[in-house]
Each structure stands twice: as structure tokens, then as C-alpha cells.
Symmetry: C2
Subunit: 214 residues, 2 copies
């Protein structure tokens, strides 16, 4: 069965889009993060600058696409890194997450530190975050801890709290590199251990749902 005209068009569009992403990636590699400009990117692929906007809503959308790749490999690395003890498995998530953030501050910033006003290209926020592979593996491992009796309470609530602590730690380290946190690794480990130990002693209730509009 041949592809319908519509899907062929979509496929071509997707191809061009990923060609643009690849070019953007190379550009960043060669000239650094601030070297990525729409004009340069367009020139690379032989288009007019404005044509880029047929494939990306704006520059942030490009940065987001770049970051998405990086985060996918992170999620894969985490899943390739299991552990016998469910708590240890959780620690792996936190550690890898931290290592990624500290090693890829630009990507971390674009994903976690810039306001999300519009879901990038039709996708809704719910599926962007709940469907986020990182949050998914985090929740999974939390659930494993709960069923193993190591943690108690609502998995999503626990995961969200871990996320808040982890994000706070990473983003402070990224934003204030000169603040005397001491050794970065040590600080990350401290926060991680502290939080997990504390969670182990509590029964965590679900997040209170409020009927927020939308």
C-alpha cells in the first residue's frame, strides 16, 4: 500500500526538520552555543533565513529540539544503568540527572529553566511532562521502592518531590558556579541521600489536585 500524499508530505517535512536539527547540532559543536543563529543555520542547509520558521516556531523551539535529543540519550543511559536495590536504582537516576545537568548546562537551562508558555508544536503539556521519559523512569523506580517497602506513599508525589530537590540542587550549581557549595558531587550526593533518607521515614500523600483552569 503506497503512502498517501499527505503522509508523504509529512515525512518530507519531518526529514527537513531533522536535517535542520542536525545542522544546528553541528553548528553548536563547531561554534559554541551562542554561535547558533537562525541566519547561519539557514545558510548551512541552503535555505533563506525565514524558511526555518516553516519548521520551528521560533528559536526556542530549535533549542528545545536539540535538548530533546540530549535528554533522550540521558534517559537511555539511566535505563541501561540498573541496580539490584531499588533505592540504589533511584540514586542512579538522581546521580545521572545531576551529572547531565552539570555537564550540559545549556540543554538543562532550555528545558528546565525557561518559561514554558506554549507546548512546542501542538503537543500538550500533560503529555510533555507525564510522557516525559525521564519522569516516567523516575516514577517507575519510585514505584519499585514502594512495592519493595522501602518507600511509602503516592509514587507521583514522591517523584515530584525528588524532582524538586534534584532540580533545585542542579540549577543552583549551574546558576551560581562561584557560590561556595564545596565539592559539587558531594553536594549533590548529600542532597540526594538526605532526601531519600527523609522520604523513607514518611508516608507521602498524593498531591492535592486543584481544578486549575485548563
Amino acid at each position: 500500500m503506497p503512502l498517501s500524499v499527505q503522509t508523504r508530505r509529512e515525512k518530507q517535512k519531518a526529514e527537513l526538520r531533522s536535517e535542520l536539527v542536525a545542522a544546528a547540532h553541528k553548528l553548536v559543536q563547531e561554534e559554541g552555543y551562542e554561535g547558533l543563529t537562525i541566519r547561519k543555520l539557514a545558510k548551512r542547509v541552503g535555505y533563506a533565513p525565514m524558511s526555518v520558521y516553516s519548521y520551528f516556531a521560533d528559536k526556542q523551539d530549535i533549542l528545545f529540539a536539540l535538548a530533546a535529543d540530549a535528554f533522550e540519550t540521558l534517559a537511555k543511559r539511566i535505563e541501561d544503568h540498573p541496580a539490584d536495590d531499588p533505592i540504589e536504582a533511584l540514586q542512579v537516576v538522581m546521580t545521572e540527572y545531576a551529572a547531565f545537568g552539570l555537564g550540559n548546562p545549556n540543554e538543562y537551562r532550555t528545558v528546565f529553566m525557561t518559561e514554558k508558555v506554549k507546548p512546542p508544536e501542538g503537543r500538550t503539556f500533560a503529555e510533555m511532562q507525564e510522557g516525559n521519559p525521564l519522569m516516567k523512569v523516575l516514577i517507575n523506580r519510585v514505584e519499585a521502592c514502594v512495592t519493595a517497602g522501602k518507600l511509602k506513599g503516592d509514587p507521583r508525589a514522591i517523584a515530584t518531590m525528588l524532582w524538586a530537590v534534584g532540580h533545585g540542587t542542579i540549577s543552583l550549581l549551574i546558576t551560581f558556579p562561584f557560590y561556595p557549595f564545596g565539592d559539587q558531587q558531594a553536594f549533590v550526593k548529600r542532597m540526594c541521600d538526605f532526601t531519600l533518607a527523609a522520604l523513607a521515614t514518611q508516608d507521602v500523600p498524593p498531591l492535592t489536585e486543584t481544578p486549575v483552569n485548563c
Copy 2:
């Protein structure tokens, strides 16, 4: 004794600077945060656009000056809001901090979510953070808890950990307004209570100092 010529010049410069800050503040009030542009600001005070750069290193410096004002009032509000119980006094810090961040996301972003590469205008980072009135009041109240026997360990380490948790909570709420955290207030309170309760059971060692270059 009359002012020396030099100090008079400095004073005049400071005056013009704060005039600029005032104009910037009014501009933001009238046209919103993105309405603050260097050209408009210069026109407001009757200068050429480039003249602004005699008083501010760059646009971030202006935003920072704006935020500094806001944070000063926050620090004052916190100090005007004491509590009998030292733990309660700490909770006040966290609560007010959160309320400020959620109520002034722009200011919060510029201060806590944008990379700090250069200390704004000669000031070093050490005095920027250690001398930061907010961190000061936080450490003070932590010390009060320690001397009251409610907490145990190194005050600066405890304060930094509280900061990390508080910042993680606020910045996630700011960045992902559509994530189902549930009620924002409730989530803040949960994180705050959780962390304080956990800290109460531990003896917190000082942050490991590492001889980072610079």
C-alpha cells in the same frame, strides 16, 4: 567640610543611576516586563540610548538593579515578620520567599535563574551571596534554631540545603505552571515542612570546601 569633587561626581552618578532605575521601574509597570528596552528607557530620561551604558554594564545589569529593590523589600518584610518559635521563624522565611518568587517571577528569574558570569559592577560574588541580606537572615534564623537545640549542625550548610529545596520548589512552579503540582501553596508547604522535619533529625556537617580555582 565640603564634599570633594570626586565624591560629588560619584554622588551625581549614583543619582542618575537611580533615576534610570526609577524610570525602568515605571516602564515595566506601564508596559510590562518585555516593554523595558534600552532605547525606550533612554528616551524616558532624555538621553541617547548608548548613554545608559555609562550606568549599567548591560541590560541584565538593569534587570538586576530592578530585582535588587524587590528583594530588599522582601528581606525587610521577612525581618518584620518574627516568630516566637525559631522553627516557625524559619518557616516564615521559606513561606515569604516562596510567595515572593511566585508573585514576582520576573525578578526571581533574573536573580536566581540566569547565569552569573560577572559580578555586577565590581562587586565580588562572595559579598554578593554571603552579604546577600536574604541569605543572611536565613543563616541567622538557622543559627537561632541550632542554639535552641531544634536543629543540629553547620548553619551555613543547613541554610544552603534549605535554599536548594526552596529554590527547586519555586523555580519548578514558575517554569512549569501547567504541571499538576496541585495547589502551589500546599506544595510549597509540603516541601518546607518535609525538609525542616528531616533536618531536625540530622546532624548536618559543613560543606566540604574544595580549592576551586579562583
